[in-house]
Symmetry: C3
Subunit: 142 residues, 3 copies
């Protein structure tokens, strides 16, 4: 195999509400085509600590279930329940929810494609929206 | 160091019941020997979104504790508690449990071996068995 | 791009109490300078199965919130609630907490630096201290 190559791209998001799940698989696939790497790994990570990147199903009922489940595990309110919110923030719950869903995924690149099972899709999970936030795509391989 | 190499292998599982934890460390080690990569990284990921790959202890009491704990965090029943199950599935809880335990692990390869601490073992975590499902091993390095 | 290089370093910790969060970003940055890799990926993982490496905010109120939240999700006591503790251990809760917070992070290396968003910091999360434990830093790239 030949020399190692690398590629970097940022995706920008502005979720108007507090929370959302956005399918970013097409953007990651487009990055892979653009860089021409055929064998290697893709890292996709939230660059903010109140957001996640995760892999699961693109099914709206499931996304509703995630939303309700995470709210049960780490409720937004009462906001004064959290010491972090004494800093003037109201997003402590978002820092907790992001740990359950994860910061990043690493996906194999094989024959120039995301090496995925039948239902795998990559999502940006926003838990504290209302401002511009970023995801990093980094690809290494050859 | 020399040119980058890559290697890919699928492991197949058919868990008869709904849930199980299976130690797959020997298969990952065998892949490493087979490919001859001495320095790099191994990605091991579930290719299905109701299963996990994670690293922890090979101790049956702990596996029982994981099972009971995950069932408390994301109960299987009542199945109509979950919107996802209106699609005809009964596995919404499996999609939630998998997020707690994780989709993938990345392990360092050093001197041709998994660069592990004293008790680290790699497990396939099945949360919705009864059919054939896959794990991907991808190794890059030299 | 040139040939692939790799680098490995262990960090050692001895947390006197049971639990702590320690910012290890400076040590990971120092490793990056030391190895001279400009483009690639860094893997940082706990080598023990009752500890985590994760990325979040260096804010003491948030760390207090994580501590309280994890204790609610996976209480330490009563220790005989867990089958794992029948082996003579009292750390079953630490194995559970570590799954929520994660074993490892993978960070992009770009232009010789950790490719981070504005608030990202890397932490060692100890859930069963009182003895010497390790974190592995593995860097691949060129």
């Amino acid at each position: 195999m030949a020399d190692m190559k690398s590629y970097r791209k940022e995706l920008w998001f502005h979720v108007p509400g507090r929370r959302a799940f956005i399918n970013i698989t097409p953007q990651v696939e487009a990055s892979l085509v653009e860089c021409g790497i055929r064998e290697g790994m893709v890292l996709v990570n939230a660059m903010h600590i109140t957001a996640s990147v995760f892999i699961n199903d693109d099914e709206s009922g499931l996304h509703h279930d995630y939303e309700a489940w995470l709210e049960g595990l780490a409720p937004h309110a009462p906001v004064d329940h959290y010491e972090h919110n004494r800093t003037g923030e109201d997003n402590a719950d978002a820092h907790l929810k992001r740990q359950v869903m994860g910061r990043e995924v690493v996906v194999a690149v094989t024959d120039g494609r995301l090496d995925f099972g039948p239902w795998e899709q990559i999502f940006y999970g926003e838990f504290d929206g209302g401002r511009r936030k970023r995801v990093l795509i980094k690809i290494i391989g050859e």
